[in-house]
Amino acid sequence: MIEVKDLQKSYGDLIAVDRVSFSAKAGTVFGLLGPNGAGKSTTISCISGLLKPTAGSIAVGGFDMVSEAVKAKATLGIVPQELAIYEDLSARDNLTYWGAAYGLKGAGLKQRVDHILNRIGLADRADDLPKEYSGGMKRRLNFGCGLVHEPKILLLDEPTVGVDPQSRERLFDLVNEEKAKGTCVLYTTHYMEEAEKLCDELAIIDHGKIIAEGTLKDLQAEFGGNDIIQLSGVFDVTLVEQAVAELGAEILSVNTGALMIAIRDGARNLSSVLRVIGETGADIHDTRLSEPNLESLFLKLTGKELRA
């Protein structure tokens, strides 16, 4: 449903997106994961036709976004990162207007609007102006405006930024419902828990480039079956680096207050790790053992934390 090949977007000398390629299929959620400023929104803006690519090609629903823009755009539903709703129109009027923008009319449009109002949980406030809504309610309306015309492809650009936990769960439900209906969902986020929870396939993007791509299992395999041990406390970095090397483990990050290592069979080796690190004179306050996750993967690939 979405085919991106060698997409490049430059602003003068600044390359915001650098030869990005990926594909997303119908009935799946494809996650684009990366820190703020990595190029996720620029990529999604090119896919939605808001920005013209400097190079490369984008096809959505089988239509080229440059040469067949009208047909391509008709297949898309957009949920932008920033709210894109009329605060001086009721929720019902907002949905009706954006439904009409994609050609819905008459009884079909009305039914669809009522359906979406129920799905986003705003049926009882449908005729109120959004300026009277909470932030989470506005987010849900923003989401509904992208869904109202039943798009084949849904582009979600960080849809949960600033959303309360209750609204976030409702948005996750909506995404899963769309996926179950066969919609292709492209989901950008810098929250790894969301990506892990929702996405069937992922691409990790940093500095405009895709640095890893695959299913969650594929990406976890990058660690070769290693577990992650995270320690917090007071550390001598030089001594800790020597001690971890003797253990045959891999340091993912270390500073005077925290240490993260990847080690095979972490549960069995945890006592050895604590002993060796303790012998360096470290004062260990807290210990956490986990399977590799996207955060640790990102750390391994880029040497920096995802939320930095």
Binding site: A69, I78, P80, A84, I85, L89, Y97, A101
Partner: protein, 410 residues
């Protein structure tokens, strides 16, 4: 095309959901127009711009009656309506704001004037009026100047006439000597005053019927002022939609970007009609204009008024930000309102400004409407240039669309 009208409908709904802007677009021009018309002497409908002068003649002499007669002459009576009152009534009416001025001719004024003794007329003017009291004062000063010249030339004869009033014969001089004296003096100055060296012929075409009141002259300008205010609010919509992200959602939809601008143009038409309709209704009722002209006048405004939206939109999209656009368009709007004839009718302007007014966008809307309301031409004449104004507006709107496309995505 369907979605353009849906968008225009959506825009109108947004305005009605936040009616403050619409109400101020109606009320501000209404109040300004009312105040300006009042300050400039008011006058409604087809009546003339008259000042009402209350006169108390305590002297009741030949001289005071001559002043009264002079003020009642046809040409002066066109602008000053004279009304004799007692001093108490005159004072009371001026205190009540009823009348432009109260002139008291004191007892003994005539005799004092004939004897060239110091004497004064008492004029109390209505402080709530501006133009009419000035007209009265200037008229009286001119009259007194004329009287002074008369006194210098015919002072003795005037004394004789004054003394002889009530009798059958001139007192103190023979009739033949009196006549001969006057004839000699007139002959002596005749070369200076007859015939006049220059003759001024007024060739300005006048509408048939009665003269035109200030309020009627101001009405088209006030209506266009309302359209201007509505257009100013609407013209910033590009920036508002950009800030709110809805413009991005539009661009991501399958609809062409220029249709956004066409929809704004249609919205401006509807908004112009909405803000002009109540003001026009009030104006027609107050001025007694035939309602046969109402819909043609409203139609003209609705179709041509968006030229103002087009101009302001272009300013907005050429500006680097919403704030700058708002400032620049406001800076341009008020001089245009002044020069284009919304605050002052072109008839009251110096000729060079009136000429400029003809070429302002609002002047293009105001002047044909004014001519139609006055009766200089009919509805067909009014609409003879409607396509030209609409085409100019559409061109500017499309230019705004072209220039804003890049900014919309920035």
């Amino acid at each position: 095309m369907r979605f353009i009208f849906i968008t225009a409908g959506k825009e109108l709904k947004r305005r009605f959901n936040d009616p403050g802007g619409l109400i101020s677009s109606i009320m501000i021009p209404f109040v300004i127009g009312f105040l300006m018309a009042s300050v400039m002497g008011g006058g409604g409908g087809q009546s003339s711009l008259n000042a009402r002068l209350l006169v108390t003649d305590l002297d009741d002499s030949f001289v005071s009656q001559s002043i009264m007669r002079a003020l009642s002459q046809d040409q002066i009576a066109d602008v000053i309506v004279l009304e004799s009152v007692t001093q108490e009534v005159g004072d009371q009416r001026i205190n009540d704001g009823d009348g432009s001025g109260h002139l008291v001719i004191p007892k003994g004024f005539g005799q004092a004037w004939l004897n060239r003794e110091e004497v004064a007329l008492e004029l109390t003017v209505n402080p709530s009026q501006y133009v009419s009291p000035r007209m009265i004062r200037e008229m009286l000063e001119s009259l007194l100047d004329l009287g002074d010249y008369l006194h210098k030339v015919f002072g003795e004869e005037l004394k004789i006439i004054s003394n002889s009033l009530g009798g059958d014969e001139l007192v103190g001089i023979s009739t033949s000597a009196f006549s001969s004296n006057i004839t000699d003096k007139v002959s002596g100055i005749a070369e200076l005053v007859f015939p006049p060296a220059l003759e001024v012929e007024d060739v300005t075409p006048k509408p048939e019927g009665t003269t035109v009141g200030m309020a009627l002259l101001m009405l088209p300008g006030v209506l266009v002022m309302a359209a201007f205010f509505a257009a100013n609010g609407q013209s910033s919509n590009f920036w508002i939609e950009k800030e709110r992200g809805t413009l991005g959602r539009w661009i991501a939809s399958p609809n062409a970007f220029y249709s956004f601008w066409i929809a704004q143009w249609f919205t401006a038409m509807a908004l112009t009609a909405i803000v002009a309709a109540p003001i026009m209704l009030a104006g027609f009722l107050y001025l007694g204009i035939s309602f046969e002209k109402y819909f043609a006048a409203l139609g003209w405004l609705a179709l041509t008024g968006p030229i103002l939206f087009a101009v302001l939109s272009l300013i907005q999209v050429l500006s680097p930000s919403k704030k700058a656009g708002g400032m620049i368009s406001t800076l341009i709007m008020f001089p245009l309102l002044m020069a284009g004839g919304s605050f002052f009718p072109t008839e009251t302007m110096p000729p060079f400004i009136a000429t400029i007014a003809e070429y302002t966008p609002n002047g293009r809307v105001i002047e044909p409407l004014k001519a139609y309301l006055i009766g200089e031409f009919g509805a067909s004449g009014l609409f003879s240039n409607v396509l030209g104004v609409m085409a100019a507006a559409l061109l500017l709107v499309l230019l705004s669309g072209l220039l804003s496309a890049r900014k919309a995505l920035a």
